[in-house]
Symmetry: C3
């Protein structure tokens, strides 16, 4: 049996976490992020103001990471398309998405026909600028609304991209919050998306709020490893540097993305599908929104692809609001600050906070007496047996009946149809009366 | 391989078991039973007249049993409420339920307002006297029909309860029917409910009939342990005295309750849910009434709470007719002898008898030849192969095809969709022809 | 890791396999087959013309095989019923089914009443001659259409069956196609049914076509054991002679029957239900006809009864078109060459060929790199990331994500909802680029 000082933690009042997240997202929105470059560094600096202890790492271009190579660092200063009259008809200054991510520089006049080969637009969303990148193949290009594109008249155009691709570094942030034990919960989000809100400023800001909540606690059982990486290459690099440690220590974790709008909740499993992270996510979502969208591993599309890859096999699940690829504004300029809301962000935060609490509290429990305990003599049960009395205490009796040392809290909660956090309240007096014990071998 | 002399037992004609049960219940109905006291002893004496070998045990008040203490013995001689005119407007002699079980004595005049604090009634069932007890907290009180209660006029009332609570004993009955082997089937019922029929005189009388049936057999494989205890404290005391033996020997068993009406069949699982008792109960009920009510462990409410508690973990399931808490007359004076019927009791008896037979016959079976046996040469199969002939012997061939030594009789019966008792008839000639053998390691 | 020279085999063009099968069936149709005798030998000789290496075995009458004895050899030369005018009103020469299989000889005049005891017909199919046999009990009899039967007028009839039952042999054919490894796939069909097309000439002719396809391959991983036996006694004899070898070597196989009509596909499981054969059959049928009929072990009726019997336990499943017993012409003269079609036979062939390919290709696969491989640099992935690009390569990425060395090809194909043969195409470049390896311990 183990001290229950961290067990049975109460959720603190989260204050105005939705507005905190929204305002931080608004501040980060204009920055032009990519896999690397000054936009990522500015972003990490701003987040670091709220995350004391955040370490910003540098990985040199050309570094090998498993099957991948860190690409050159990309800097973009300006970009536009000018017509013959000298009017800037497309201007990077008006929206970061107007330039393909990792565009090589260009400064040249083209006929419309030639220029058009370098233009990307979405005919079905004529008011949206698409988000396009070409990290590993040298290209240049402009992304326009389809309305802009069809309005282009035949003629000559001056295409200018003042960008630079050169050996440099790729950056990522890392924050370790040491807990009572060495086992870790991994929270990962990505900081490479320029000027899009739900995917992906919601992830970094909600992750920041979660880290601040964890730092505010007296203590916590698990050590929390919070990483802010560029998507794909960032998580691959992070894994290549830490895989042995991660495989030994990480017992749960979440890829935090698309947690900002207020339209639905979504769940995407780990590859294994039945890890503690999956169980906690499903348990929480079932109780906070029984209509949550349930996706399969085949619907994946973010860093769980790396964290759960064969041979990596970390227990990383994903809790989202509207999932990437599933809402109309996805990967376009329409995914702006009007898509996310303080309520939506607070909901994403709360779902992840609940999941973390469930993981923290997910001990195995065991009764200390054989047969049902005599609760009446301790004032925990009505002393009068009437036709109705037993119903009043059903949840407590059901909980006790499964405290056999074999079921953990999530299993018991699912068996008896109650949220784990309600059981925590019921357990307090039972543990205080030494009727239920926490199994040491399960608590870590 | 083992002798099949007990295997393949035929169910005897049960005669008029329904009337036997009903008449015994009628004789027991007027007795005022409780956790302890003379009513329990009278009940055990009457049942003992049909159960030679029944031992009545005494447990002194104050005895510790796990987390519980045996309460004082309760004796009640008389009780009534008199109005100012001396009329007895409520009289224990007219119904045992008029007094709260374990009421302390009182003999005092009260204003109606004061008296009313000691009155219990059911507004939604105005003609029913509720069943109320207060075993572990000293109280006194009267239970009235709501019609009686609302008819009480303001004024003074004389409340008299001539009861006694003092150190004494708690009684329970125990009957062991020794079988061929030491492994045991536990049949438990409770004898603490005053003047209610389905819950709970049906349990004691059907259990008595089952014991008499078992005693009438030439022999039986398992040893039968039949216990008649006061609910909760009785099973806890019984477990505290016998738990090591029970955990080593009991391979199946049933808590026998609510087996007297004729409205439906019900099943409540053991906590584990997949014990031999559960499998036998489900198999029997599926074949005798495919519309039986299936409850979950969360719906429990009788001594399975103790027998299946964490660390006790006996394989005890429950087969009922209308389950406690689920029929309107439950725990009121309406649960009288009109609720139970000879047909209802005979049905409860038959379901439990079938389940016991299934358990007795539940051996693993194995063919003695490779490939299908040549049944035709033994006269067990039509010698003419026509378009229809194979259907006639489908059940026999299906049975043989699963006699691989890995499946027991219940599994095979479920796999091929036949009741186990039909398979017993089919097996007889196959075993007689030495084509199928009974696995010794499974039969015990 | 193992050479992939047999893995990833392409299905060759099967040419006009349907017509090959149909014409071979038409040639075999008139022969009067039974458990033994000249009809079986003629059949094996004709099939052997297409199966170089086919060995025809002889088993003497009276040979014991497990619980069975090989019956005497049956020869039939002529049979008829003559009326008083000398007209042959029933003539074996017009249809082999007119005589009960294994009829003993008769040459005698009877009154209609006496003759009628030896006549079999189907009142509900008045134009059909039923198929009736009496292998193990001496009888004689004629099978008539019910129309013929009811037209018989009172009078004297001359019944003649010029048959012979005497010590001789039972024959069966066996062809071994040696593969790279000793593990075997068993293909079994039966050659004892006279003059019926779907059940059972489709089995022998499709099996012949499958053997010819296998012989046409450069090589194959598994050794193929092809057996053509009389049903029941033939498979029992074959098992009794080969059971130890078969149990050690056979990893999959099919009983090939009823593969000739074009009305549906059907699946009947092995007794275990989850063998490689079952998994391959279900996978293939799901993708070639999602409406296939799924039967249970309880619906069995052919040689799987022996191959999957307790203690034999070979992994033999059955892929059919219209299953025996389930189509109106079954076991009557109506099951003629109009029931089967080249398209139906080709479909039966193709389903079994696909299942064999799936078994040949069913290796465990493992990625050679941690995290997702960088496919773009190898030209295997679009270099431009747009809103649509990832969908195009979803099947490839899904496949890679499950190449963890724990799942075999069928499991992966089922997990990602693709036919295994599509995955084979996707795997080729991945294996060629050394990104995916074949696990040696699984490939044999």
């Amino acid at each position: 049996m183990k001290s229950s000082n961290t067990f049975l933690r109460q959720t603190p009042d989260n204050g105005d976490v939705g507005h905190f997240c929204y305002e931080l997202a608004a501040k980060l929105f204009p920055i032009c992020r990519s896999l690397s470059g000054p936009g990522v560094r500015t972003t990490l600096t701003l987040l670091g103001q709220h995350l004391p202890g955040l370490t910003v790492h540098e990985v040199p271009s050309g570094t090998q990471a498993f099957d991948w190579t860190v690409p050159e660092e990309w800097t973009i200063r300006d970009a536009y398309i000018e017509d013959e009259s000298g009017e800037r008809i497309v201007d990077f200054k008006t929206h970061n998405l107007h330039v393909i991510g990792y565009s090589e520089p260009v400064d040249q006049w083209f006929d419309l026909e030639e220029l058009d080969k370098h233009i990307y637009s979405l005919p079905e969303q004529p008011q949206a600028i698409p988000y396009v990148t070409s990290y590993y193949s040298r290209r240049w290009g402009f992304c326009l609304t389809h309305a802009q594109r069809v309005a282009l008249k035949p003629g000559r155009y001056h295409a200018v991209i003042d960008s630079e691709l050169k050996k440099g570094v790729m950056n990522y942030g890392e924050l370790i919050l040491t807990g009572q034990i060495e086992q870790e919960v991994l929270l990962s989000t990505y900081i490479c998306h320029p000027s899009m809100a739900n995917n992906e400023l919601s992830g970094p800001v909600v992750t920041t709020a979660l880290a601040r909540w964890l730092m505010s606690l007296d203590d916590h059982r698990y050590t929390y490893r919070i990483v802010l990486v560029p998507e794909t290459i960032g998580s691959i690099v992070y894994l290549s540097r830490n895989i042995d440690h991660l495989k030994r220590h990480v017992i749960a974790g979440f890829n935090i993305t698309c947690v900002g709008d207020d339209r639905c909740y979504s769940y995407l499993p780990s590859r294994a599908g039945n890890t503690l992270s999956d169980r906690a996510a499903l348990h929480v979502l079932k109780h906070i929104d029984s209509h949550f969208q349930r996706y399969s591993w085949l619907d994946r599309g973010s860093d769980e692809r790396q964290y759960c890859a064969p041979g990596v096999d970390l227990p990383i699940a994903t809790i989202m609001r509207s999932k990437y690829g599933q809402y109309p504004e996805y990967h376009t300029s329409l995914d702006d600050l009007s898509v996310i809301t303080p309520t939506g962000l607070a909901g994403g935060f709360k779902a992840l906070q609940r999941a973390i609490e469930v993981i923290e509290n997910n001990v195995h429990l065991k009764t200390t007496v054989l047969c049902e305990p005599h609760l009446g003599k301790r004032g925990l049960y009505p002393t009068l047996s009437t036709k109705e009395s037993s119903a009043q205490v059903a949840a407590m009796m059901n909980l006790i009946s499964y405290c056999d040392g074999k079921h953990d809290l999530v299993e018991i909660a699912d068996l008896i149809g109650e949220p784990a956090w309600r059981l925590v309240d019921i357990l307090k007096p039972l543990i205080a009366n030494a009727l239920i014990g926490v199994c040491g071998d399960c608590a870590g």
